[in-house]
Amino acid sequence: ELKVEQNPLFLSMQEGKNYTIYCNYSTTSDRLYWYRQDPGKSLESLFVLLSNGAVKQEGRLMASLDTKARLSTLHITAAVHDLSATYFCAVDALKTSYDKVIFGPGTSLSVIP
């Protein structure tokens, strides 16, 4: 059974600082998603990572995937208040040809001025 963990679960950081959110998963997979969720809202897609060593960047966010370590990171550079949200990673649990996508518990990020 695929398990997805995130660290930390809660993160309070000052504006301008850098930080990394970690996503670990328990079974072999090379398909990983990152999403953002604002309070009371739906989920917004940030990145789709499709292979070992994949790196994607958008603005102050950069995501990477290490399938051998079963680890993805979401790096935040020079945080700003607008990045305050909950961030989820999700992993494909491949079952024959089907894609069962399992989410992590989320990291609640608060950026303080």
Partner: protein, 115 residues
């Protein structure tokens, strides 16, 4: 471009009642998912479907049923509602296997309270 549409947005149910959450997508996506999100928690997969006529259980299927008679629609049925089913329900879809690089598109959510 409507994307993934869920109805109703809000609903209050009494214990023991039944209801159906509707989900439809206009993107011709094969894969559709139902998740629930309890307050302050992550998303738990209830059921998913890889095409019309094909469904499978997720992490928390008990108390729910689904059907997929068309590509567009993936309704979620709650039988004998219980307070533990109070949650926000999200429907989602994607075009094909993740190999193709497609992301998952989410609906706006349905807030359900069982009293």
């Amino acid at each position: 471009n409507a994307g993934v549409t869920q109805t109703p947005k809000f609903r209050i149910l009494k214990i023991g009642q039944s209801m159906t959450l509707q989900c439809t997508q206009d993107m011709n996506h094969n894969y559709m998912y139902w998740y629930r999100q309890d307050p302050g928690m992550g998303l738990k997969l209830i059921y998913y479907s890889v095409g019309a006529g094909i469904t499978d259980k997720g992490e928390v299927p008990n108390g729910y049923n689904v059907s997929r008679s068309t590509t567009e629609d993936f309704p979620l049925r709650l039988e004998l509602a219980a307070p533990s089913q109070t949650s926000v329900y999200f429907c989602a879809s994607k075009r094909g296997q993740t190999y193709s690089g497609n992301t998952i598109y989410f609906g706006e959510g349905s807030w359900l309270t069982v009293v």
